[in-house]
Amino acid sequence: MTPVSVEIRNVALSFGATQVLRDITLSVKPGEFFALLGPSGSGKSTLLRLIAGFNRNQSGQVLIAGRDVSAIPPWQRDVGMVFQSYALWPHMTVAQNVAFGLEERKLPREEIRRKVAAVLDLVELTGLEARRPGQLSGGQQQRVAIARTLAIEPQVLLLDEPLSNLDAKLRVQTRQELKKLQKRLNITTIFVTHDQEEAMTTCDRIAVMDQGVIQQVGTPMELFDHPVNRFVAQFVGSVNLFRGTFTRDAGALHFSSSAIGEVALPASLKPPGAEGEIAFRPHTIRMSVGHPAAVEGEMRLTGTIEGEEFLGEFLRYDVQVAAARVVVDHAHARGEASLATGTPVTLSVPAEEIRFIAA
């Protein structure tokens, strides 16, 4: 089956006086693994339910394979959804759950049996056909939910936080399996999650949502490297963000902020205006004890160690710089001791790791 596109055009939705989706426009390419990422209440689940037909948009259009589906009821949409709760029916066996959609499509008995067997094989649940959902582990239940949805060979696959009910270790394993399965089936898939790591590791592209508005759409690397606003920068990865004013003086660039004071920036950088924010990620900071000689093309900050968290792969330091705290990640080597609180340090950030966010 050739994969289809999903397009959302100027969609808005309110529940009473609450605007849940505001002028959403989005294009998911055929065969793409696409994530809707945002905190709870951002509208991501509402948008997913809109595509499935459980919510109605008050304005705009939802197009699947170029066809407006706004008026089509959920049971005729051919859009498969895996529910966060899995919604497996406890009064049916695994096989009956999976066969349900095929029976609704009035397929011949023999074909239903063949398809159920095939899809259970796909999710590696062969042999559990006669079990009831209550007799399965969480991971098995999740795979039954996916099998039940895939059985009808939907045009689009919708996943509503499918990993949130699994424990941490299983979650990592399952998201890799999900990614492989999606690539193998080449089915347009939309994945809702509040976990940025989950979205970045599995999906081709991500739409970051907040307060019913799409903040930015891009590949995981684009979002991480070039966040367009404060929300995206903070939601995708960790970041140090400071607001201030930029002044250019005889070729030299200065940044003045109430938080980190007066700082010289590499002259090659081009701030977006006289005011704005600078952003730099903790892992791009090089930290040295004392006051080493300055290097051309770097931003330098001086401060003192205020605290630390050991996270295994790296040490996360809190460094007091003027009136602000700067987060610094330092890769950990075996046997290396951590720096004591109060140690004076110098922080260097290379020019290419500094981002500007317009005011």
Binding site: S85, A87, N165
Partner: protein, 560 residues
């Protein structure tokens, strides 16, 4: 923490003795009599004799037929109403809650006489139909009448249980069905109804038991070819020695316990553990204009039917003459005067018996709840189970059991128990104890143990803790249990007609039944019925009021 002291053990033994004497032994006596010959040996001869009599075979078939058809019609009435309230957004919710209570406040046998006048062969409906279209409906003929009256009375059991069951289904269960292509009636049949099956089965099995065991309605409608009326007639006309009556009792008990156990088994076996993992309740659906017309039409029709016994009995109580006319032609208050002149003793008796029975119920209920939930007494669950069995015990069986077990037994001070008014109090209390116990258990399980521990820590002994902390905190549940026991006892008829040995002992329900036996007595009977319904209605309203006015704030330390 062990909480077993000699006092606790004594209370438990006392309760066990009461249940043994007034529940287990009488029922066991009935069963023993059915299976024993003149020398006291085991025999199946009485069952063979039962099967020989064609009237008995007919009665057995009729009882099954009536109970089955009532379940069917009650379901047809209740299922759409339950689905409407729980899944759709519309203003009828209050109406449906009313629909759920209204029929229950009037005992079925009271309404039966009025139903004759409204839907009988020459009742209001058929007079109109005959006038306009030239045909009549045999709604009240023979078994049809019993099915009709029982359906209107008992459908709320299905409605209330099913609605409760529907309300807890995770909405994503339904959405998953829609997502995979099911909608409308198929969605309901394949997903929604099977998921709500536990509630439906609980309600339907209760309806089956109640109808299968009912004595009052068939007797008032003069239908005697059913099991319960046959048992009553055998015992009262042939005498307590006639074994056929006991055989019928055993059949009633077996079917009642079977229906209860069967429903429990079906629900257990199907593994209905609803897995809730962060599913969100979807907003209630809106009705399309067409659906609204259908929904309100259906509710209106049911409402009219449900109110008809109430209206009928009110009209009957106020009518001077009502026969072969659509509505009474002359109105009068004379029936009420008659009732207040002749029957004040019965009204007094009802208050005395039912009040004492309800009091006994809440005392026993509180004590058993405390024993089960707050002590480690071995075998305490047995008390709970014994009480639960009382739920499936037909009043007729218990009544016959009392007569057989206690005849000729003289108690100090009161003489023969079966000739004393105390027998009513005991009989009413035993069969209503399950309701009172549920109420008390629910109330006690809401009281956090730490509240009691705080009292003990400050120096109160166990008895003081119960009296000053536990009982006050349980008071809402205790009152609700009291009122439930009181109102259901006031409408009881099976035990009542068996145990009434002389008229001065009779409560109101017996009076209504007696009046309804004659045409001339229908007016006063209806008047007494109206008084009973008003009393029961007020009681029901009051218990609702008590339960719903208790906000969580009133119960500190409530478990969440």
């Amino acid at each position: 923490m062990t909480r077993t002291s000699p006092g606790i053990v004594a209370i438990a033994l006392l309760i066990a003795a009461f249940l043994l004497a007034f529940l287990v032994v009488p029922v066991a006596t009935v069963v023993y009599t059915a299976f024993s010959n003149a020398e006291g040996g085991f025999t199946l001869a009485h069952f063979a004799a039962f099967a020989e009599i064609s009237l008995m075979r007919e009665s057995f078939a009729n009882s099954l037929y009536v109970a089955g058809m009532t379940v069917l019609f009650a379901s047809l009435l209740a299922v759409p109403l339950a689905y409407l309230t729980v899944r759709f957004q519309f203003r009828g919710a209050v109406i449906i809650q009313t629909l759920g209570v209204l029929p229950l406040i009037m005992p079925a046998f009271v309404g039966a006489a009025a139903m004759q006048l409204l839907f009988g062969r020459s009742g209001s409906l058929n007079l109109i139909l005959n006038e306009l279209f030239g045909f009549t409906l045999p709604l009240m003929q023979g078994l049809n009448g019993v099915i009709f009256v029982e359906t209107l009375h008992y459908f709320p059991f299905v409605l209330l249980n099913l609605a409760a069951s529907l309300a807890v289904i995770d909405s994503s269960m339904e959405e998953a069905g829609q997502n995979l292509g099911a909608s409308g009636f198929r969605l309901f049949r394949k997903i929604v109804f099977p998921l709500a099956l536990p509630g439906y089965i609980a309600g339907a099995s209760l309806v089956f038991i109640k109808v299968f065991d009912d004595l009052g309605t068939p007797l008032v409608l003069n239908v005697t070819n059913m099991l319960a009326p046959q048992a009553y007639l055998r015992v009262t006309s042939i005498g307590l020695e006639d074994p056929i009556g006991y055989v019928i009792c055993v059949i009633l008990v077996v079917f009642s316990i079977g229906a209860m156990g069967g429903s429990w088994w079906i629900v257990k076996r199907r593994d209905f553990a609803i897995q809730s993992r962060g599913g969100v309740a979807a907003p209630l659906r809106k009705l399309t204009p067409w659906q609204s017309v259908l929904a309100y039409g259906w509710i209106g029709a049911v409402m009219l039917l449900v109110l008809s016994p109430h209206l009928g009995i009110l009209l009957l109580s106020l009518s001077k003459v009502w026969s072969f006319t659509v509505l009474p032609e002359q109105f009068t208050l004379v029936h009420y005067a008659t009732v207040f002149e002749d029957s004040t003793r019965m009204i007094y008796n009802t208050f005395l018996y039912c009040g004492l029975a309800a009091l006994l119920d809440v005392v026993l209920g509180t004590a058993i709840a405390y024993l089960v939930l707050r002590t480690q007494l071995p075998g305490r669950q047995l008390l709970d189970h014994m009480v639960t069995v009382a739920l499936a015990m037909p009043g007729l069986v218990l009544g016959i059991g009392y007569l057989r077990t206690f005849r000729g037994v003289d108690f100090p001070f009161i003489g023969p128990l079966t000739a004393s008014w105390l027998i009513f109090v005991i009989a009413y209390a035993v069969r209503r104890l399950p309701f009172a116990l549920r109420s008390c258990m629910a109330a006690l399980s809401q009281v956090h143990v730490s509240l009691e521990e705080a009292a003990e820590n400050l120096g109160a002994n166990r008895w003081h803790t119960v009296r000053r902390v536990i009982v006050p905190l349980m008071m809402g549940g205790i009152l609700a249990g009291f009122v439930t026991s009181f109102v259901t006892a006031a409408g009881e008829i099976s035990e009542t007609i068996l145990l009434t040995s002389r008229e001065s002992l009779a409560p109101m329900s017996y009076g209504i039944y007696l009046y309804m036996q004659s045409i001339a007595g229908r007016g006063p009977g209806a008047a007494l019925g109206v008084i009973a319904v008003v009393l029961i209605g007020l009681g029901t309203w009051y218990s609702h009021h008590i339960v719903s006015s208790r906000s969580p704030l009133d119960v500190p330390g409530e478990k969440t």
